[in-house]
């Protein structure tokens, strides 16, 4: 690693001539005076800045909060040397050259007994990972303990209610009464499918007087394909899913949607969650896929699942020589996001130093890094945007060998590359011309010629095929500048000769897999700087979670010739879903709870560490976590139990006294109303107006710039009426309507809990957006068709469709007035429907 990154250790040999070339300096007589003179004002026994005491030999050995400061024999790996060599220390001054050389020689040649070094390190770690730290609630294995009076074999729902009621009782409160049937039904539909019920479904439910009418609805909704879409979307938030890469031009991930489809299917199939997590963390290893071979039909699913590790931003592009820190960034983002999603700890803090608050050592961070490094190996990097190879690339070709070979041959042939290069240049030319015209500059022929030359010579050329053409269409451009058309035709001609792109259609999967069985070594990066590697570390888990009696063993892959991988991620993943793991199940059930109630039992859903919130109902959380595991990590079962609890079925009605005492409903004295998520709002608008198209899966639907520049559905070439999760989601091109309602851009790589903001741009979207105009128009049309033009009936039906109820007299009066006041009654109806969609009953689940 060092060699490749240009960190040469040659400078070490430049010691010749120094007094210490022959012997090691003595600590007490030669080193300590230097430290006393320049360092120990701050790094002494009492003050210990950065946890470091440089006034004694043992203090020097012990290191500080940034880890050890001396790597015996290796000044370049020693923080002490790095800091003084770069004059970062002493603060506000610098050591003389002679002093520097003395310290360097001391690190190189001094005697640092290994036992003493180890003991010092152990002591430092023990100071961080104290018995109290190990006692933190979320590091203890959850225990299932029923409350007195509730039989152990009672259904989980009964235990949920008992735990919640016990807390309420302390305040002399009780659960609120059950919500009305319609409220409950809408709540269930929104929660499980992200769509409102149809009037027929409402009627059927109201007419079903059976005791298990509600339970039957839950069963039916859990079996609906819409369930996997809605809950898949939740998980995609946790995973940080995006259709773009987050690099400079925010290029598209060509086949990211396969991972999205995997997630939808997993929820619909009710894949056990332990298996779901295993596959996403280490699917390739679970099925022992050989990256040199085509995955078998059984392997495809598990490999697709590893797209989970590829969701985070990756700005590597192999265009310049300044890539290495981007490699580390991509590696670390994947590690931090996935650990955060599954483990519920913010390990990222330990990237640069021991975690300030949680008992996570910097060394722990890099032990985890070693696990991921087999995929994201800075020494053996698979760049992000290599759609056309070289192979192997991070996109796996799931094709039979002959086709695969033929395709690779086609797309890597010189002729093909030349055509592609021409396409890039042409596209860049359109864009550059447009930019010039937009800036008001003329484009005489000489200038165009020069621009084209510039483009050809541009080493940074990064073509974004998604750039809007709203300024001037391609056709208009071609009319003005004939060379564009000539060029276009030339490309078409060349392509025709090659019979299109390639005679073979590629089938790609973006996956994470170990690039080799022997990845490059992992070092603790001092202060997180990749140019300052410290001690080498092996794969491992955070010390505080390690069972000292039975440390987790990462087997040497050399002992397993049958493995096609290092086995590291699989070991990690199996540990994560093991029955004794204290966090994984808790973190997951807490997320499920949050998706139902708006808040988790632990409100900081991503942080179960010491900076996170403590659980409002710790025994309940544990009971849920253990039961969930005992039930085989069966999510549909858990969901049903939660939704059948009286806690969930409570009314959302306000009780003034409790609103004052517990405004954020920590004690769960009611089911708080929740503003619907962006996707649910848009999908509901499409559904009630009869436009929703329920086609599932496949490449995302394209989006375009609308008249006022906003990003919206492309309606010519693609289907604008599919569910929102199938619209293209770029990090820099969020659909404006959805973004207004807090759909994340994923700039921060994940967002496990949506904001539910109330912003005026949301009002503007409901007043003026193309979406609200076209859905209300279709809604009005459809209502009038269904009622034979009878306005009264149409209004009634509108309420049933949009609100699942009949209009109240006051509402009816508003509608009547609206319709009567418009010369065109149909437009009056439409306007009223728009008001209905903009009003709270449409935007909330109560």
């Amino acid at each position: 690693m060092l060699k490749r990154f240009g960190i040469h250790t040659l400078s070490l040999s430049l010691l010749a001539g120094s007094a210490f070339a022959q012997r090691a300096p003595l600590f007490k007589d030669e080193i300590l005076p230097i430290l006393n003179k320049s360092c120990n004002q701050c790094h002494n026994e009492n003050q210990k800045m950065a946890g470091l005491d440089l006034s004694t030999f043992s203090g020097v050995m012990a290191g500080g909060t940034n880890g050890p400061v001396i790597a015996p024999g290796k000044p370049e790996r020693s923080l002490l040397w790095q800091m003084i060599e770069s004059d970062k220390m002493p603060m506000g001054g610098k050591l003389s050259n002679a002093d520097k050389q003395a310290i360097k020689a001391y690190i190189e040649q001094g005697r640092f007994p290994k036992e003493q070094m180890d003991a010092a390190e152990a002591a430092r770690e023990a100071a961080r990972i104290t018995p109290e730290a190990r006692q933190w609630w979320s590091f203890q294995r959850p225990v299932k303990k029923a409350l007195a009076g509730v039989p152990g074999d009672a259904a989980l729902r009964a235990h949920i209610d008992a735990f919640v009621e016990a807390k309420l009782k302390e305040k002399h409160w009780r659960l609120s009464p059950e919500a009305g049937k319609v409220m409950l039904l809408r709540r269930a539909y929104f929660d499980l499918t992200g769509l409102p019920p149809t009037p027929a479904e409402v009627t059927a439910f109201l007419n079903d007087k059976a005791a298990d009418a509600y339970e039957k609805v839950i069963d039916r909704l859990l079996a609906s394909p819409r369930y996997g879409e809605h809950w898949g979307r939740h998980w995609l938030d946790v995973a940080g899913y995006s259709d773009s890469r987050g690099d400079a031009g925010d290029s598209d991930r060509e086949v990211s949607w396969k991972y999205r489809d995997y997630v939808i299917q997993a929820f619909n199939k009710n894949k056990p969650i332990n298996r779901f997590l295993l596959e996403q963390m280490a699917g390739d290893q679970l099925v022992n896929w050989d990256p040199k071979k085509r995955p078998t039909a059984e392997q495809v699913e598990a490999i697709t699942a590893t797209g989970f590790l590829r969701t985070t931003a990756d700005i590597t592009d192999n265009q310049t020589i300044y890539e290495v820190d981007k490699y580390f960034d991509a590696l670390q983002k994947s590690l931090e996001t996935s650990m955060n999603s599954v483990l519920g700890l913010t390990v990222g803090c330990a990237r640069c130093h021991d975690h300030k608050f949680d008992p996570i050592l910097q060394k722990d961070y890099y032990r985890l890094t070693a696990i991921y490094q087999a995929v994201f190996d800075p020494e053996n990097w698979l760049a992000a945007n290599l759609k056309y190879g070289p192979w192997p690339s991070r996109t796996v070709l799931d094709m039979d060998p002959q086709e695969r070979e033929a395709w690779i041959k086609d797309v890597t042939s010189t002729g093909y590359k030349a055509v592609r290069r021409m396409e890039d240049l042409l596209e860049a030319t359109y864009q550059r011309y447009r930019a010039e015209l937009k800036a008001g500059r003329d484009l005489p022929e000489a200038r165009r010629l020069q621009l084209r030359k510039d483009i050809e010579n541009d080493p940074d050329l990064d073509v974004d095929y998604k750039v809007a053409k709203d300024f001037l269409s391609d056709t208009e451009m071609e009319k003005r500048y004939p060379e564009l058309l000539m060029w276009k035709n030339e490309i078409a001609e060349k392509r025709k000769m090659r019979k299109g792109e390639s005679s073979v259609k590629p089938n790609m999967i973006e996956a994470a897999w170990d690039v080799s069985k022997t990845p490059s070594p992992t070092y603790v990066l001092l202060r997180g700087n990749y140019l300052a590697p410290g001690a080498e570390v092996k794969a491992g888990i955070p010390t505080v979670l390690e069972n000292p009696a039975k440390p987790l063993v990462f087997d040497d892959p050399k002992k397993h010739p049958e493995w096609n991988h290092t086995g590291r991620r699989l070991t990690l993943a199996q540990w994560l879903v093991s029955p004794e793991h204290p966090l994984t199940a808790r973190v997951f059930v807490n997320r499920v709870w949050q998706f139902h109630f708006g808040e988790g039992i632990v409100r900081s859903v991503d942080d179960f560490g010491t900076q996170g919130s403590k659980p409002t109902h710790p025994e309940l959380l544990d009971y849920l976590a253990v039961s969930f595991q005992e039930q085989g990590w069966d999510l549909k079962w858990l969901t049903k139990e939660i939704m059948l609890s009286r806690t969930y079925r409570q009314s959302s009605a306000e009780i003034a006294e409790r609103m004052n005492a517990d405004p954020s409903n920590k004690l769960l004295w009611r089911k708080a109303p929740l503003r619907l998520e962006a996707e649910t709002i848009r999908d509901s608008m499409l559904k009630v107006s009869g436009l929703l198209h329920d086609q599932m899966y496949g490449p995302p639907e394209a989006i375009k710039r609308g008249a006022d520049g906003q990003w919206m559905e492309e309606d010519k070439k693609s289907n604008p009426n599919r569910r929102s999760m199938y619209l293209q989601q770029g990090r820099t091109r969020p659909v404006t309507f959805l973004h207004a309602f807090d759909m994340p851009e994923m700039t921060a790589d994940k967002q496990s809990q949506r904001f539910r903001s109330a912003l005026p741009i949301q009002s503007l979207a409901m007043m003026n957006s193309p979406l609200v105009m076209r859905t209300t128009k279709a809604f009005a049309q459809q209502l009038l068709e269904r009622t034979g033009g009878d306005m009264d009936k149409a209004v009634n039906l509108a309420f049933e469709e949009a609100y699942s109820r009949s209009p109240r007299p006051a509402e009816l009066a508003i509608a009547k007035q609206a319709i009567a006041g418009e010369p065109d009654a149909k437009e009056g109806l439409r306007l009223f429907l728009q008001a209905m969609m903009g009003a709270n009953d449409f935007l909330y689940s109560y």
């Binding site: 955060n340 940074d460 808040e599 900076q611 207004a740 921060a748 904001f755 007043m767 105009m773 903009g838």
Partner: protein
């Protein structure tokens, strides 16, 4: 609890009169991300906040020239370039791209000395030459990133990677904004390679996201324009119906503040619609102002419109306006052919903005900053075709002027070739972030937000200082 009550009181006030405006400010709340013991509830709004200490500036216009403007060809001439023109550099110049060279290239354009401060500005910027005495240069800027995307992220978010909130978001978060009918942070135009992430609030609440705005009187903000087939009366009727329906539907939830603010937001949106369309309508400006900006001038009118709109926005009480300097600044090739047009594009607008802000006395409150993410090297790139210059993160310059900043001052310098800053003056993006916040009365160390277990700030763990030397 106390907070909740005062919130409610305000909501009650809001039913009538001015309160309705302030109400729209209760825009976002974030319970869950709050770290710490129990669920600490935190509410966010855009109402003006007290700064940490008395502020020198109230608002900021930041002209961000993405792509790497060649400052040595614009306002930082170096005598060494003439001396070594065509010859190899006297010391090693570290380039980035693979076809760089060690051959020095002098600026192809003459410079003109300004009357008062005697500073040289390229003849490519004839208008800027006239106002240059007003600005303060920081001539020793550096950045630790050499690629566009990473350097651009660094320059606006303090980190070289995607996923962090930008300067304008942090300012809005700390100070709120004067005008409750417009967003606190507005971004004008395009040109950053990293797109909208240059004005993203990332994990800060969405309230603080930079709102994209265009200098287009008809459609300055997404969804601000009434659809064509709806007339004013119909829209008024629509809003009235929504209000009536909401009142009816809110009856069972008299205490719910989310529902309440949603009702008020329609009123706010209607005001915003009026206000944004009004502020974006440049036609009401005086002839003298129009003459100053030359809004229809070929090759510069688009940018000038954005500059004028920026002035109107700060005048209306918007806290932070970011203007992008357009595309094409990445002059690896043919700098001689490209830079004149690029300079022409920004020259009139930014110079007019300085004059305009000064004439109106807006420099009392407004800080104006202009920078790219890095500069360009003194050596030739693309030797074999028309030459250009490669990225230079080791030394470049930016300028600032207005509230709290000295007039006509120069801070720092680079070596004789304009290659690397003199180490004793070295400044980086975090120093600028600290200084801009300081001028606004924000202690950059205290402007923090709890995220992933840490108290995050714009500057973070980067070394930073307030550049006191340039403060007035």
């Amino acid at each position: 609890m106390k907070k909740m009550l005062s919130r409610r009181q305000m909501l009650q006030e809001a039913a009538t009169g001015f309160g309705a405006v302030a109400l729209g400010a209760i825009l976002a709340q974030d319970r869950a991300q709050a770290a710490g013991e129990g669920a600490r509830e935190r509410f966010y709004d855009l109402r003006p906040k007290q700064p940490h200490f008395p502020a020198k500036a109230k608002n900021v216009i930041f002209i961000y020239i993405g792509g790497g403007p060649s400052t040595i060809d614009m306002w930082d001439p170096k005598p060494g370039l003439l001396k070594y023109d065509g010859k190899p550099a006297p010391f090693e110049i570290k380039g980035r791209a693979l076809n760089g060279s060690q051959q020095i290239m002098a600026s192809p354009w003459p410079f003109t000395r300004s009357a008062q401060t005697g500073r040289n500005v390229s003849n490519l910027l004839p208008h800027f030459q006239k106002v240059v005495d007003r600005v303060t240069f920081v001539r020793s800027m550096t950045t630790d990133r050499i690629d566009h995307s990473t350097a651009q992220f660094t320059f606006v978010t303090g980190r070289g990677f995607t996923g962090f909130p930008s300067l304008g978001s942090w300012v809005g978060y700390a100070l709120g904004t004067e005008n409750q009918n417009l967003p606190a942070f507005i971004a004008l135009g395009e040109g950053a390679t990293i797109g909208a992430r240059a004005h993203s609030s990332a994990w800060l609440p969405p309230l603080f996201n930079g709102t994209s705005m265009r200098a287009d009187a008809g459609a300055p903000i997404y969804n601000i324009q009434r659809p064509e087939n709806i007339n004013v009366n119909q829209q008024a009727k629509l809003l009235d119906m929504i209000k009536q329906l909401d009142r009816e539907q809110k009856a069972p939830y008299p205490l719910d503040q989310d529902l309440e603010s949603r009702i008020a937001n329609y009123e706010l949106a209607a005001r915003m619609q009026l206000e944004a369309l009004k502020v974006a309508d440049l036609s009401s400006e005086s002839d003298a102002t129009k003459a100053l900006y030359q809004l229809d001038e070929k090759g510069s009118g688009g940018f000038s419109k954005q500059c004028l709109l920026a002035r109107r926005l700060v005048e209306s009480g918007v806290r932070f306006v970011q203007i992008y300097g357009g595309g094409g600044w990445d002059t690896h090739n043919n700098i001689e052919g490209q830079l004149p047009g690029l300079c022409h594009y920004i020259d009139r607008g930014m110079s007019a903005l300085i004059t305009d802000l000064e004439q109106r006395g807006l420099f009392e409150d407004t800080l104006l900053v202009c920078s790219g993410e890095f500069g360009r090297l003194p050596t030739i790139e693309a030797k074999n075709s028309k030459p250009g210059r490669d990225h230079n993160p080791y030394g470049f310059s930016l300028w600032m002027t207005g509230a709290g900043v000295k007039t006509g001052f120069d801070y720092g310098d680079t070596d004789e070739l304009g290659y690397a800053c003199l180490p004793e003056y070295k400044l980086g993006h975090s120093d600028i972030h600290a200084t801009v916040q300081h001028l606004l009365g924000i202690d950059y160390k205290r402007n923090t937000y709890p995220y992933e277990g840490r108290d995050e700030s714009l500057v973070g763990i980067n070394p930073a200082r307030v550049v006191k030397e340039i403060l007035s």
